[in-house]
Symmetry: C2
Subunit: 318 residues, 2 copies
Amino acid sequence: VLITGGLGFIGSHLAERLVGLGAEVTIVDNLAANCGGNRHNIGTFANRVSVRIADIVESTLLPELIADRDYLFNLAGQTGHLASMEDPFTDFEVNSRAQLAILEACRRQNPNIRIVHASTRQIYGRPEYLPVDERHPLKPIDVNGINKLAGESYHMLYSRVHGLQATALRLTNTIGPRMRVRDARQTFLGVWIRCVLEGVPFEVWEGSQLRDFTYVTDAVDAFVRAATCDAAVGEIFNLGGDCAISLHDLAELLVKTHGGGEYLIRSFPRTSRAIDIGDYYASFDRARSILGWQPATPLDQALSETLGYYRCYLDRYL
Amino acid sequence: VLITGGLGFIGSHLAERLVGLGAEVTIVDNLAANCGGNRHNIGTFANRVSVRIADIVESTLLPELIADRDYLFNLAGQTGHLASMEDPFTDFEVNSRAQLAILEACRRQNPNIRIVHASTRQIYGRPEYLPVDERHPLKPIDVNGINKLAGESYHMLYSRVHGLQATALRLTNTIGPRMRVRDARQTFLGVWIRCVLEGVPFEVWEGSQLRDFTYVTDAVDAFVRAATCDAAVGEIFNLGGDCAISLHDLAELLVKTHGGGEYLIRSFPRTSRAIDIGDYYASFDRARSILGWQPATPLDQALSETLGYYRCYLDRYL
C-alpha cells in the first residue's frame, strides 16, 4: 500500500489501521510546513512502515513509488481555504497538478492499482439544499475548492476512460487526535481545542452555521471499505457526521466536555466572509447503502477523545 | 489591449477588429506547434500591432505585459479534446496553470483591467437537456474540459472575491478563415474543409450528432460587447449558432456549398467515443438579453466564406 500524505492527520491513522491489518505500508509525505505531516503521528508504529520524505509532484519519484502497489490511498493535499486564497499556487500544485501526475503514473506504471482519493465537501460551494448529497451542483467558491474539484475530476475521468479503479470520498470536517491545532488550516476546531487547553478564549465566527464532523477512525473505516468494495470503483461518496450542529452549540459542547473554557462570538473577518459556505451537512446515504459505512462515534465522544490526546501531546503540535 | 493567443484563429480576428476601432493592441502568443498561432493570420495588419512571442506561463513576463492595459482578452489555450487525453500536462499548463498566473498578475499589477476569457461548451460534458443554457450542470468528460472549467472558475472567483472585472464566454464550435485545418484540434470542420479542397473524402463519425457553429466575426463581436458591457462583469455567457445541425446534414451542406466533395460515414474510434459529448447546441438567450448579441452569419454563408479563404491560402495552414 502507498499512502500519500501518510504522515498527516488522517493518513497516519489509515497507515496504523492498515499495518494492523497486515499490510505492507509505504508513506510518502513532503512534511510541508503548512500541511498536516508530523513525524509524531506515526511515533507508536514508525518501525512498521516505510517512510519517504519527498514531494509527490517530483515525477521522477512517482513511477518507482507506484509500481507494484496494490493500493494507493491518495491523501496528500493542502486543506486551508483562506491559505488557498493567499497562496493559490501551493494549493494548485498539490491539489491539482500532483493529482494529474499521480494518475498518469498509475496509468503507465500500474493500471491495476486500486485508488481511493480524499476529496472534500468544499467542491460543492454554498449548499443549495440540505443535507447535501452527491448530486448537488459543484460550484466551489475558493481556490481550494476549484483545485480539489479538478483533482477529483481527474480521478473519475481516469477511472472511466483509462480503466483505473478509483473511488473518491468527499470528506467533511474530520476531527480527532493528530489533527492540526496550530491554526485552522485543517479545521477551525483544532484552534478551539488548543485555546481551551491553553486556557485562552477561542473565537466563534457568527455561530449559527451548521456543520457536521467525522471522527477520524470513522473516516479511516470509509477509506478501507472503499478500497475493498468492487461496487465503489468509479464512484463518489460523501462522508458525514452523526449530527448537524451549529458552531455555537459546538462551542458549548466543547466547553462542557472539557469542563471549562471561554469563547467570544465575533463577526466574520472580511476575507473569510467572501469564501464562507454557510450551512453544510452531508447526506451519507450512498456510503451507507454501497459501502455499508456510517459514522459510529458520537460527537461528544469524538471531542472527549481528541481533548484527551492533546492534554498529553499538545506540545508536539505547536 | 493585450490579447493572449492573439496569433490564433479567433485572437487574430479580434486583434484586427480592435485595431480597426483604434485600439493599441499587443499580442502575446507562444506559437505552440499544436495550437492555433500562425503568423499568416495577422499578415494584412502586422504593422499595426505589437507581437511578443512568449509563453504566458513564464510569470516573469506577465507583470510587464499586464501593467497599464485597459483590456485583457484571454484567448490562449489548447483546444484539442483527444490531444488533452494523450498529453494532459500541456493542456493543463495553458488552460489551468497559466490562467491562475494571469489572474494573480492582474490582481497584483492591474486590478482595474477588464478581462474577457474564452471558455468553452466542453465544460458542460454530455448535455442533460437541450438547448444547453448557463445553468446546466458542469460535468466535463475529458482533461480539456476539466482544465478549462478550472480556468473559468478562477476568473469568476477572482472577479467575485478580489474585485477583478472578468467575463467568461463559453464558446461552441467556431469556424471561419484562419481556423486550424491541419487537424481536428480546433474543430473537426477544419479537416473536412481541407479534404474537400484537396479532393479527398472526409470522415463523418456517426453523423446524427447535433452541433452549433459560430462564425468567427460573430464570436469577435461577442468579445467586444462583453468587454464594454458593465452588466457583464462577473458573468458567464454561452455563444451559439443560428441553427443546430446534424453532422450528416453539415457534410451535405459543405459539399453543396463547395460544389462537390465526398465523405465516408464511419463509427467512432474507441478513444473518441469515450469522450464524445453526444448532441450539443447552446441557448444564447443570456447573451442576447444582456450583451445584445446574437449570431448574424448564417451557416451556409460561414461555410462559403471559409471555403473561399482556404481556396487562396490553404498552403499557409498545412
